[in-house]
């Protein structure tokens, strides 16, 4: 999948809470940064706070979307039906849910194919191994405690890099 890129990745737990967020920033986000810094001098909200607020809002928005889509898929396609992805002009959202109602969501650009096996792999080989089996992580993860540990983050980065080899 050379040339394709991944934008962000979220995990929601069975209590509908976002317990993990990761964003990959492309080079196009740099000019936006400088305009945001200018706004700061006018007494606006600091850019770091703004970005954190936006990330939280994004997660809520995404959860609302998948929650409704998932319900619609089940109502139309039977109770075992799941939606796999949807696409807009700008991005594609991939979705995978485990029987324990852990929901994995990935946003990529529109050219990317089916990512279901990739999300499954992230869950089975990274989340289960490094988060669920970590004796230091709590059993459940209110506010994401214990999810973003070094092994999980490192593994995720490496795995995603191996799929989305950088363009050039």
């Amino acid at each position: 999948m050379a040339g394709a890129s991944v934008y962000s990745f979220y995990i929601f737990d069975r209590h509908t809470e976002c317990i993990y967020t990761k964003r990959w920033t492309g080079p196009q986000s740099i000019p936006q940064k400088s305009t945001a810094t200018n706004a700061l001098s006018n007494g606006a909200v600091p850019v770091s706070v703004k970005r954190a607020m936006k990330a939280e809002d994004d997660a809520k928005l995404i959860f609302g979307t998948i929650f409704s889509l998932r319900r619609m898929a089940r109502q139309l396609g039977g109770k075992d039906d799941q939606f796999l992805s949807y696409r807009t002009g700008e991005y594609k959202l991939h979705y995978f849910e485990t029987p324990t109602e852990l929901k994995l969501v990935m946003l990529t650009d529109t050219r990317v194919g089916n990512m279901r096996t990739v999300l499954y792999q992230i869950w089975a080989t990274l989340y289960v191994e490094y988060v669920v089996k970590s004796p230091l992580a709590p059993t459940e993860h209110p506010r994401g405690v214990g999810v973003a540990n070094e092994l999980f983050e490192g593994g995720l980065e490496k795995f995603i890099d191996s799929i989305f080899t950088p363009a050039q």
Partner: protein
């Protein structure tokens, strides 16, 4: 259905599970129970064990294990949602128990409305070499392998089933069989996101 579960259990057990010596498990578990029996005493006594408290603590420990174990179980076996409780029972016995402790307790004694069943343990690796304390009470009050009830309860809760599991007989107490009763209480509904004001 039953044979499919048995096949999955056999295959995962053979190819995808790291194994350790069974005696290590037996002895470690025995040490935990013995320590609990020493620690949890009836208030205002020095060495009169509160066996009810031990049962409860074992169940709680199992519950916390079950909450995590289910993810490993699902990832290893690649199984999805069960279509009914009978299928769930087969999965617990022929895949769950098989994969993690290499036994397959028999499923029997279904209630009329298919919401409760017995697991009959012909072998129980946790209870090898075990004799209950000879204090006249342990035989009637301690459920030695109670951790298993907690494990099942925790694991089922994560897949939206609230169940109750408890032992009804144990060969350690002098009964003919070791049996656990598992009862489905309710299916847990999806949680809704909190309302934004």
């Amino acid at each position: 259905m039953a044979t499919k579960a048995a096949r999955i259990g056999e295959e995962v057990w053979k190819s995808r599970v790291d194994k350790i010596n069974a005696e290590v498990v037996t002895l470690t578990y025995g040490t935990i129970v013995a320590q609990l029996c020493r620690d949890l005493t009836v208030p205002n006594t020095i060495n009169k064990t509160d066996y009810n408290a031990v049962n409860k603590e074992l169940d709680r420990m199992g519950y916390n294990m079950g909450l995590r174990l289910i993810e490993d179980f699902l990832a290893k076996t690649g199984t999805g949602q069960c279509s009914n409780f009978r299928e769930t029972a087969e999965m617990i016995s022929k895949v769950g128990f098989k994969v993690f402790i290499n036994i397959t307790p028999n499923v029997s004694n279904w209630s009329k409305d298919s919401d409760s069943f017995h697991l009959v343990f012909e072998e129980n690796p946790l209870a090898d070499f075990v004799e209950l304390p000879d204090d006249g009470r342990a035989q009637d009050e301690l459920w030695y392998s109670n951790i298993l009830c907690g494990v099942i309860r925790g694991a089922m809760e994560m897949v939206q089933m609230q169940i109750e599991a408890r032992f009804v007989s144990d060969v350690l107490r002098g009964d003919d069989t070791t049996e656990m009763r598992v009862t489905l209480i309710r299916i847990i509904e999806d949680e809704m996101p909190p309302d934004d004001e």
